[in-house]
Symmetry: C3
């Protein structure tokens, strides 16, 4: 058993639901761990993580529109207003989604469903640089390299 | 330290909140791991996982009714409509609940609270076959078998 | 690689969002594990866990007020009413937040973002004693003690 850990830095656009599956998969596949668990953790409270459908961008649009209706950017609703009307809604949307995801690894690869992607959900109305910690725990691949 | 991994296949009824505690507990108890962590991961984005009260079915009914009011199956609200009026609501309900649960294991057993059960929440209006990956990491039980 | 596990007992006030970062950090820092993952798991379905901003108490107030508007304590909405008007809303709020959090550990310490705290969210209208299981998996610190 072995553990590997790294940091990932992701630039986001305002309110972007950005697919980061490839960024995470690339690192996992270099760790020489065959069977394990990958945990992605975001170091922020106004952006969050999400497993969602990776096929239709309309599904992400509909999820974003739903959350905007659910958590309106109306300052009369909130006490904490000194960071802009999108700040408290960003914290609430983060609480309703995920700060952390743990995903199985088999044969050295992330075991996602066929239609699943990993997304970083930027809840602020301005671009940000977001930091994630990736941690992989598992069994070292004992297969000798071929050739 | 050791890792074990398996797949679980679960048949669901439309919109069912199905208890799967026994299916998971049975596998955990055969792994000869005394202290550890079990991660259940669902390979879909229109069904999700949930820790909920295992006593009253009315609590599950009320949760389902709440989510139906919150995320109406009204196609005028959504852009992505080609998979039926229940498709986008299913993705939204999945985003608001869990794709993955990590549960402690002690003395070779899942450490759930007295009133806690593990549930698979089918968000689609038709029956499905759903796949989960279970991963258990922990210490091997060193106790010699009695008798 | 090593695993450590303990129980934590937390007294809550009605509807309190209580910071428990220090309770968890203190235990983690005594485990002599340098790089790893800490999983906090709450053994209840009417209280939950949350990563939230640790700076402004107004953000927590706004989150609580949002959830009270979203999940009203109106018994006419629910079938399960024999445990009081706050019981089903408590279960729904738990389902919308987290039963479990997994947080990276580096250099023997929790790797939280600058503004992140770990909170226990009491959803009932009365004080409770809540139990958590903490599990830490990681690499033993090989650094010889100085002096």
């Amino acid at each position: 058993m072995r553990i590997a850990q790294t940091r990932l830095s992701i630039d986001t656009k305002p309110r972007e639901i950005k697919e980061i599956t490839a960024d995470i998969a690339r690192w996992v596949e270099c760790q020489n761990i065959s069977t394990g668990l990958l945990t992605a953790y975001i170091l922020h409270t106004s952006a969050s993580l999400l497993i969602q459908e990776n096929a239709s961008p309309d599904v992400r649009h509909d999820l974003d529109a739903f959350l905007r209706r659910l958590v309106p950017e109306d300052i009369s609703l909130y006490r904490h207003n000194d960071e802009g009307p999108d700040d408290v809604p960003a914290h609430i949307k983060s609480a309703l989604t995920q700060t952390q995801l743990t995903i199985p690894v088999s044969d050295g690869r992330l075991q996602l469903g066929v239609w699943q992607g990993i997304f970083l959900f930027e809840h602020r109305a301005s671009p940000h640089n977001r930091a994630l910690v990736l941690t992989l725990i598992g069994e070292v691949d004992e297969t000798p390299p071929s050739g």
